[in-house]
C-alpha cells in the first residue's frame, strides 16, 4: 500500500510540474524578447502569407532586410496570418493587451474600438516630419479619428466598371458616358442573350458599390457621407432616387440571375470566362486584368474599364468610390515604440514603388506612374487618381460595425426587390439614429 502512496505522490508532482512548465514557457519567452537592452526587437504582424500573396510577402521581407541592414541593432520579428485569421488574432491579442509593435489595420469603423481602447499610437508627430506629403490626398484621413492619425495607408483602391472589349465589339457597342448609354448597352446585350453585368451580391459590399455610385452621381459627392455622419437625412431625395435606380437596373435584367446567392468570386469568374460583359470591382483586381500569368493572355487583352457614367446629366465622373485597404498601426503600449515608429516610417517610404511594380498594388503613397515600367492600365489608373476630385470611402467601412451590417442587409433586400426605395432610406435613417 505504501508503495502506491509514493507512486501517487510522485505522479501528482510530475503532473503538477508539467502544468507549471507549460504555463510558464510562454511568459519566459516574452521576457527574453523585451529584456535585451541593446538589441531591440520589433514585432511585426501582417496578413500576406507566402502561399496566397507571394509578391506581397517577398516585398515585405526585402524591406525588413534593408531595414535591419541600416539599423544593425534592431531586428524585426515577423508573424504572418491570412486575412480572416489575422482579424481573429488581432482581436484576441488586443483583448489580452499584447498587440504586436507594428501591425495592420483597416480604416475608419474597423479601427474605432482599438482607438477608443487606447491601443493604437498617435502618428501625427511622425507625419509632421515630412512623411505627410508622401500620401495621396484623402488617404490619411480615412485613418483619422477626431483629427488624429492612427494608421499609415498602404493601399488605395478606386472602383471602376470593367468590360469585355470582345463582347462589346461583337455587338457594336462602345463604352458608355451616361447612364442612358449604359441602359442601351444592357438592352442590346439582353436581346442577344448575353449576361450584361456579373454581380456577386452574397457578399453585399459588391451591391453597395453600385448604390454608392448612383448616390454620388445623383446627389453629389458629399451627400452619402453627410447622411452617414448624421449631418443630413438618409431620406434625402437624392439617396432615395439612387435606390430607385438600383431597382430599375434589377428590373431591366442588368445583372446575372441569382446574384443575391452568389459570392463575388463566382461573379468574378463569370466575367473572366467571358460569360458576362461587365463587372464592377475595385483596382485590387487589376493584376487579374494585366499581369497575372494564371489568367489567359487573350482575356487580359480584351479587358478595359470605364468610369461610372453620369446619371441624367448630373455627376462628376472623376469622383470615385474607393478607399484605402490596410494601413500600418503602431501599438500604443509597445516597449520599443520609437523603433516601431522608425520602422513603420521606413516601411511606408519603401513600399510605394516596390508594391506597384512587383505586386500590382496601387499604393497609398504618391508614385510617378510614367517613370516606372507598368502596364498601360496602371498608368491610366494612376493618372485618374491624380485627377480625382473626390474619393468616397466604402459605405460599410465608414459606418460603425452594427450599422454597416444593417446597411449591407438592406442592400441585399433592395437588390432582391424585397423593399421599396423609400423603405430602404427609412430603415437606414432608423439604424443611424439608434446609434
Amino acid at each position: 500500500m505504501k508503495k502506491f502512496k509514493w507512486l501517487s505522490a510522485f505522479l501528482i508532482l510530475l503532473l503538477g510540474s508539467l502544468l507549471l512548465f507549460a504555463c510558464s514557457e510562454d511568459g519566459e519567452g516574452d521576457e527574453e524578447v523585451g529584456s535585451s537592452e541593446d538589441d531591440e526587437v520589433i514585432e511585426f504582424m501582417h496578413l500576406w502569407p507566402e502561399g496566397s500573396s507571394a509578391q506581397h510577402y517577398r516585398i515585405v521581407n526585402e524591406i525588413i532586410e534593408d531595414f535591419e541592414e541600416e539599423h544593425p541593432n534592431k531586428t524585426v520579428d515577423l508573424q504572418v496570418y491570412s486575412n480572416e485569421q489575422y482579424k481573429d488574432q488581432i482581436t484576441v491579442l488586443s483583448s489580452a493587451n499584447e498587440l504586436p509593435d507594428v501591425g495592420m489595420t483597416w480604416a475608419a469603423g474597423y479601427m474605432e474600438p482599438f482607438v477608443s481602447g487606447n491601443m493604437f499610437a498617435e502618428l501625427d508627430d511622425m507625419l509632421d516630419e515630412g512623411l505627410r506629403d508622401e500620401f495621396v490626398a484623402g488617404t490619411l484621413e480615412a485613418f483619422e479619428l477626431d483629427g488624429v492619425s492612427y494608421g499609415l495607408p498602404l493601399e488605395l483602391n478606386t472602383t471602376y466598371v470593367f468590360y469585355n472589349k470582345n463582347i462589346f465589339d461583337e455587338h457594336g457597342l462602345e463604352k458608355p458616358d451616361t447612364y442612358e448609354d449604359l441602359q442601351e448597352i444592357i438592352s442590346v446585350l439582353n436581346e442577344n442573350n448575353v449576361e450584361p453585368i456579373s454581380l456577386g451580391n452574397r457578399d453585399r459590399w459588391t451591391g453597395s458599390m453600385w448604390y454608392m455610385y448612383f448616390a454620388d452621381r445623383i446627389g453629389g459627392s458629399d451627400v452619402l457621407t453627410e447622411a452617414i455622419n448624421g449631418e443630413r437625412s438618409f431620406e434625402d431625395p437624392a439617396l432615395v432616387e439612387a435606390a430607385e435606380k438600383v431597382q430599375e437596373m434589377v428590373t431591366n435584367d442588368s445583372f446575372n440571375s441569382g446574384f443575391n446567392g452568389m459570392a463575388n468570386e463566382e461573379a468574378s469568374s463569370m466575367f473572366m470566362n467571358d460569360q458576362a460583359a461587365m463587372y464592377m470591382i475595385a483596382t485590387w483586381d487589376l493584376p487579374n486584368f494585366t499581369t497575372n500569368e494564371d489568367i489567359p493572355q487573350e482575356f487580359r487583352d480584351s479587358v478595359d474599364y470605364f468610369k461610372f457614367p453620369t446619371v441624367e446629366g448630373s455627376g462628376d465622373t472623376n469622383s470615385f468610390v474607393g478607399g484605402p485597404g490596410v494601413g500600418l498601426f503602431v501599438s500604443e503600449n509597445s516597449e520599443v515604440k520609437d523603433a516601431a515608429l522608425e520602422f513603420s516610417s521606413f516601411f511606408i517610404q519603401e513600399w510605394g514603388e516596390r508594391s506597384v511594380t512587383e505586386a500590382g498594388v496601387i499604393p497609398g503613397t504618391i508614385v510617378d506612374g510614367e517613370s516606372l515600367d507598368l502596364p498601360d492600365m496602371y498608368v491610366e489608373v494612376l493618372e485618374d487618381l491624380e485627377n480625382a476630385t473626390n474619393l468616397t470611402l466604402y459605405a460599410d467601412v465608414q459606418m460603425s460595425a452594427g450599422v454597416a451590417d444593417r446597411h449591407l442587409e438592406l442592400i441585399q433586400a433592395l437588390f432582391g426587390l424585397e423593399i421599396t426605395a423609400e423603405e430602404f432610406a427609412e430603415e437606414h435613417e432608423n439604424a443611424l439614429s439608434e446609434e
Binding site: 503532473l15 483583448s95 491601443m119 441569382g258 452568389m262 463566382e266 460595425a401 451590417d405 441585399q412 433586400a413
Partner: protein, 293 residues
C-alpha cells in the same frame, strides 16, 4: 490488490482528475464565462462595462433572434422527420440484400467530406445559370428555374437538403449496427408465425432498436439547434437574414458587429434553449423498461 487500489478514494480522484480538469477548463469554465460576458457591454477589444441583464432582456425581445430560432427549430423538425427515411434505408440494407456492403459505404461518403467542401459542392450544384440542378431543370423545359440560394422564400430549404444529406450516412450507420444486433432467431420466429416483411420491420425490429432511435432523435435535435457551418459558408445567413440560424446570428453579432456582450448573451440563450429542449425530449422518450434479447 487491484480492488484495494480502486477503492482508495485518492486513487479515484487521481484517475478522474485529468479528464475532469480538461473538461472543466475547456468546456465548463468558458461556458460560465460566456454567460458572464453576456452581462457586459463589450466590443471584444476595449474595457467591459457591466450592464446587468440588459443584453438578455434585449435578446428576449429581439425579433431577429426569434426568427433565427424558428429557422433552427424548423431544421430540427426536418432532421427528426428525415430519421424515418434513414431508418427505412438501414432496414433495407440490413435485410441481406445484394451489394448492401457497397451501398453502406456509398451512403457514408458525405460524412467523410468536410463541411466546407460540401458547401462548395452544393454552391456549384445550386448555381442559378450553370449549376447542375438548373441545367437538368432546363432539359425538362422549366423556363425560370428557382434561384435556390438567392430567393428568400426557398433558401432555407435549399440549405436543409445538403445538411440532411451530410448526416444521412451517420444515422444509417448507427441504425444498421443496431439492426445487426437483433438476433436472427427472433426474426425467424416471427416469419414462421407468418409475419409479413412490413410487420417484421415495424413490430419486431423497430421496438427492439427503440432505445437507439431515441438517442438519434436527441442527437438530431441538439445538432440542428446549434447548427452553423454549412449555413455560414453557403449563404452567411442571407439574403437579408432569410437563412439565419441561432448560431450564425451569434457569430455575426460577436465577430462582424463587434458586439461580444450581446453575442455572448445570444450564445448563452442558445445553450439554455438547447438544454431545455434536450430535457423535454428526454422526458418524452424516456424508456420504462430495458430491452433484452
Amino acid at each position: 490488490m487491484v480492488n484495494k487500489v480502486m477503492s482508495n478514494k485518492w486513487f479515484i480522484i487521481l484517475y478522474l482528475f485529468p479528464a475532469f480538469f480538461l473538461v472543466a477548463v475547456l468546456i465548463f469554465i468558458p461556458l460560465l464565462l460566456t454567460g458572464y460576458y453576456g452581462l457586459m457591454d463589450w466590443d471584444g477589444i476595449g474595457e467591459m462595462e457591466f450592464i446587468g441583464l440588459e443584453n438578455y432582456i434585449n435578446v428576449v425581445q429581439d425579433p431577429r433572434f426569434w426568427e433565427s430560432a424558428a429557422h433552427s427549430f424548423l431544421l430540427a423538425l426536418f432532421s427528426t422527420l428525415s430519421l424515418a427515411i434513414y431508418l427505412a434505408i438501414a432496414m433495407i440494407l440490413a435485410s441481406k440484400i445484394k451489394g448492401a456492403d457497397l451501398l453502406r459505404k456509398i451512403y457514408l461518403i458525405p460524412m467523410l467530406l468536410s463541411s466546407v467542401a460540401i458547401a462548395q459542392l452544393w454552391i456549384k450544384v445550386y448555381n442559378p445559370s450553370n449549376g447542375m440542378l438548373n441545367t437538368v431543370l432546363h432539359w425538362f423545359g422549366v423556363e425560370n428555374p428557382p434561384l435556390w440560394l438567392a430567393d428568400p422564400n426557398i433558401v432555407l430549404y435549399s440549405i436543409f437538403i445538403p445538411i440532411l444529406w451530410q448526416y444521412a450516412g451517420f444515422y444509417i450507420l448507427i441504425y444498421f449496427a443496431a439492426l445487426k444486433n437483433i438476433p436472427d432467431t427472433i426474426v425467424e420466429a416471427a416469419k414462421i408465425d407468418g409475419a409479413s416483411p412490413l410487420q417484421v420491420a415495424l413490430q419486431i425490429k423497430l421496438p427492439l432498436i427503440m432505445g437507439v432511435v431515441k438517442v438519434t432523435i436527441v442527437l438530431a435535435i441538439v445538432g440542428s439547434l446549434k447548427y452553423f457551418d454549412l449555413i455560414y459558408v453557403m449563404t452567411g445567413g442571407g439574403p437579408n437574414g432569410a437563412s439565419e440560424v441561432m448560431a450564425s446570428y451569434m457569430y455575426k453579432l460577436a465577430f462582424s458587429n463587434n458586439d461580444f456582450g450581446y453575442g455572448s448573451s445570444v450564445g448563452f440563450m442558445l445553450l439554455l434553449i438547447t438544454l431545455l429542449v434536450t430535457i423535454i425530449v428526454r422526458k418524452f422518450t424516456a424508456s420504462k423498461e430495458e430491452i433484452q434479447y
